[in-house]
C-alpha cells in the first residue's frame, strides 16, 4: 500500500507543484493520474519512488516512512519510467540497456538474460535487440525505456506517459503486459493524457489541477464529470461526447456513458426498439 499524507513540494522553494496531496493506493490496484499540464502529476509519482522528498507531509510504502529509505532501496520496489525516454537511455544496444538495471539490482547473468528476453518479446522489441536505442523511432525508444523497468518486475510500477508515440497495436500489447503484471499482484500507476487508454484499462482515476487532487474515484464517473473536465483540462471521452449529443436528441439517454458497448446497445435500442 502507498500512502501520501498532506504532501507538499515546491521546486526551488518557489514553484509550488504539490499543495497538500493525500492519497491511498492499495496493493494490486490499477490507477490513472490525469490532469492539466503542470498540475503536479509527475512530481507526485517522483515522490512515490523517492526521487523527490516531501517538503511537508509524509509518504509511506506499506508501513514504512520513505523518509527513512534510500532511493536505491525504494527503487527495488517502485519502478519508474520517465516521460522522456532520452532521459533514461544511455547504452549502445537495446539489450545492454535492459541488462544494466537488472544487474544493478543484483540479478544473476542468467536470470537477467531471461527476464530481458521475455520482456523484450512482449513489447515487440526482440528484432531490435542489437540496435542502438538512438537509432530507433520515438515509439520504439519509449518501449525500450519501459522494458528496462518492467524487466525487473518491481512490486509497484509507475509509468509517466507510457502510450506516447505508440500505435494502437503497441498500446494493446503494453496494456496486456500491464494487465498480466497486475494480475500477478503488481500495483500499476500511470500518468497519462490518453483518455481512451484510461477508460479501457484503468478502473480508478485521479484528476489533478494546480498541485491538488480534484477528483478520485471510478474512471467512468471521474472522466464523464463536466466540472472535473473543466477544472483539470480534460475533454469528454469520445463515447461521452456521443452520449451527450444523443441525450440532447433523446432525453432519456444517459449523457455519462464512456464505453463502446454501452453506446452500441443504446443506439441499437433507439433504432430497433423505437424510442427509449
Amino acid at each position: 500500500m502507498i500512502m501520501l499524507e498532506n504532501v507538499q513540494f515546491a521546486y526551488e522553494g518557489i514553484y509550488s507543484a504539490l499543495r497538500g496531496v493525500s492519497l491511498q493506493i492499495n496493493t494490486g490496484e490499477r490507477i490513472a493520474i490525469m490532469g492539466t499540464n503542470g498540475a503536479g502529476k509527475t512530481t507526485l509519482i517522483k515522490h512515490i519512488n523517492g526521487l523527490l522528498r516531501p517538503q511537508n507531509g509524509r509518504v509511506f510504502l506499506d508501513e514504512r516512512n520513505t523518509a527513512h529509505m534510500s532511493v536505491a532501496e525504494i527503487a527495488r520496489e517502485v519502478g519508474l519510467v520517465f516521460q522522456n525516454p532520452d532521459h533514461q537511455l544511455f547504452l549502445d544496444t537495446v539489450e545492454k540497456e535492459i541488462l544494466f538495471g537488472l544487474k544493478k539490482l543484483g540479478f544473476s547473468e542468467e536470470e537477467a538474460k531471461e527476464r530481458s528476453s521475455s520482456t523484450l518479446e512482449k513489447l515487440g522489441l526482440t528484432d531490435l535487440i542489437e540496435r542502438s536505442p538512438f537509432s530507433l523511432s520515438g515509439g520504439e525508444r519509449k518501449r525500450v525505456a519501459l522494458a528496462s523497468v518492467l524487466a525487473s518486475h518491481p512490486r509497484i510500477l509507475a509509468l509517466d506517459e507510457p502510450t506516447i508515440g505508440q500505435d494502437a497495436l503497441q498500446k494493446r500489447y503494453l496494456a496486456e503486459l500491464l494487465m498480466e503484471m497486475n494480475e500477478a499482484g503488481k500495483t500499476v500507476i500511470v500518468v497519462t493524457h490518453d483518455i481512451e487508454f484510461v477508460i479501457e484499462y484503468f478502473p480508478r482515476t485521479i484528476a489533478m489541477a494546480d498541485g491538488q487532487i480534484i477528483a478520485d474515484g471510478l474512471t467512468g464517473m471521474v472522466l464523464s464529470n463536466s466540472k472535473v473536465q473543466e477544472l483539470c483540462s480534460l475533454t469528454s471521452p469520445q463515447m461521452t461526447q456521443a452520449a451527450k449529443a444523443l441525450a440532447s436528441y433523446f432525453p432519456t439517454v444517459s449523457d455519462r456513458m464512456t464505453q463502446l458497448d454501452e453506446l452500441e446497445a443504446t443506439i441499437t435500442q433507439i433504432l430497433e426498439g423505437g424510442r427509449i
Partner: protein, 280 residues
C-alpha cells in the same frame, strides 16, 4: 500548386538494415491538411524529415529518388533554406528548445535567418498572442510543462513563416484541453492557407480536420485518401491503426444490420446520424 513532391524516393539510415522509406511517390498540394498515420517505426518521422531536408542533409544514409519542396530538390538545398518553406515540430519539444526564455526562443529562428529586428519583434508578439504565451514570456523552457514547451516550439517554428507546417505528434505530451487547443490552431492555420502535415496515432482527435489521411506501413504508403474512406478499409485493422470509436460503432451496427447513411468521424456526427435514421 504542388508544394511537396516525392519522386520514387527511398532512404536507409546509416547502420540500419532495412529501408526507412521504400519507393515513395507522393504529391501534396498547397493548402492541404494531411494526416500521416501508421504503426510505430513505419517511417512517418523519416517522411517528415525528408520534407524539411533533415533527410538527407542531417541524417545521412542511402538515398534513391528525389524529394522536391516548392520545386527545390532536398538533395541540393540546405536545411536552413528549406526551413523557411517547411517548418517542423518534433515529438519531444524539449529537444528542440535552445534558449533561456520564451521571447528569445521565438526570436531565435528568424534571427538566424537574418530577419530585420523590427520584423522579429512583431513576429514574437504575434506568436505570443496566437499561442497564449503571455504568462510564460520570461520563463525558462525547462521550467515549463511539456504542453507549454510544445506551444513554444510551435510558436518558434511559425515565427520563421514557413508555408508548410510539419508536426510530428505535437499533442502527445499535452493535456486533452491543450491538445484540443493546438489542434484548433493547426486547423485555423490551415484555413488561413497553411499546408499542414500532421503525424498522429490518435485519429479520433484529428480525422475531422484532415482533408486527407495517408496510411504507412514498413516504409511504404499503403493507403491515401479521404478520411471516411481510409478509416473503413480492412487494412486499418490488419496493421493495427486505432480506428476512432465512432467508426467502430458504425461498423458494429452495420454487422448487426443497421447501416448509417454516412461514416461518422466524431461522437457528434454519430449522434446526428442516429437521429436522422430514427426519424426516417
Amino acid at each position: 500548386m504542388v508544394l511537396v513532391k516525392f519522386d520514387n524516393f527511398s532512404f536507409k539510415y546509416i547502420g540500419a538494415e532495412t529501408l526507412a522509406l521504400r519507393k515513395i511517390d507522393l504529391t501534396i498540394e498547397e493548402g492541404e491538411y494531411v494526416v500521416i498515420t501508421g504503426p510505430s517505426g513505419c517511417g512517418k518521422t523519416t517522411l517528415c524529415r525528408a520534407i524539411n531536408g533533415l533527410v538527407p542533409q542531417f541524417h545521412r544514409g542511402y538515398i534513391a529518388g528525389h524529394v522536391y519542396v516548392d520545386s527545390h530538390d532536398t538533395r541540393e538545398n540546405e536545411v536552413a533554406k528549406l526551413s523557411t518553406i517547411a517548418g517542423m515540430v518534433f515529438q519531444q519539444p524539449e529537444n528542440q528548445l535552445v534558449t533561456l526564455n520564451v521571447e528569445k526562443e521565438i526570436a531565435f529562428g528568424p534571427e538566424n535567418l537574418g530577419v530585420p529586428p523590427d520584423e522579429i519583434r512583431s513576429r514574437v508578439e504575434e506568436a505570443i498572442q496566437l499561442f497564449n504565451l503571455e504568462q510564460l514570456r520570461q520563463k525558462h523552457p525547462h521550467e515549463m510543462s511539456g504542453g507549454e514547451q510544445q506551444r513554444v516550439a510551435l510558436a518558434s517554428i511559425l515565427a520563421m513563416k514557413p508555408r508548410i507546417l510539419i508536426a510530428d505528434e505535437p499533442t502527445s505530451n499535452l493535456d486533452p484541453k491543450s491538445a484540443e487547443s493546438i489542434l484548433k490552431i493547426l486547423c485555423y492555420l490551415n484555413k488561413q492557407g497553411m499546408t499542414v502535415i500532421l503525424v498522429e496515432h490518435r485519429l479520433d482527435l484529428v480525422s475531422q480536420d484532415a482533408s486527407r489521411i495517408i496510411l504507412m506501413n514498413e516504409g511504404s504508403i499503403v493507403a491515401d485518401g479521404d478520411p471516411r474512406e481510409i478509416l473503413t478499409l480492412e487494412v486499418c485493422n490488419e496493421i493495427g491503426i486505432g480506428i476512432p470509436k465512432a467508426i467502430q460503432i458504425y461498423r458494429r451496427l452495420k454487422q448487426n444490420g443497421i447501416t448509417l447513411p454516412e461514416v461518422p468521424l466524431s461522437g457528434h456526427e454519430l449522434a446526428k446520424l442516429v437521429k436522422e435514421v430514427s426519424q426516417a
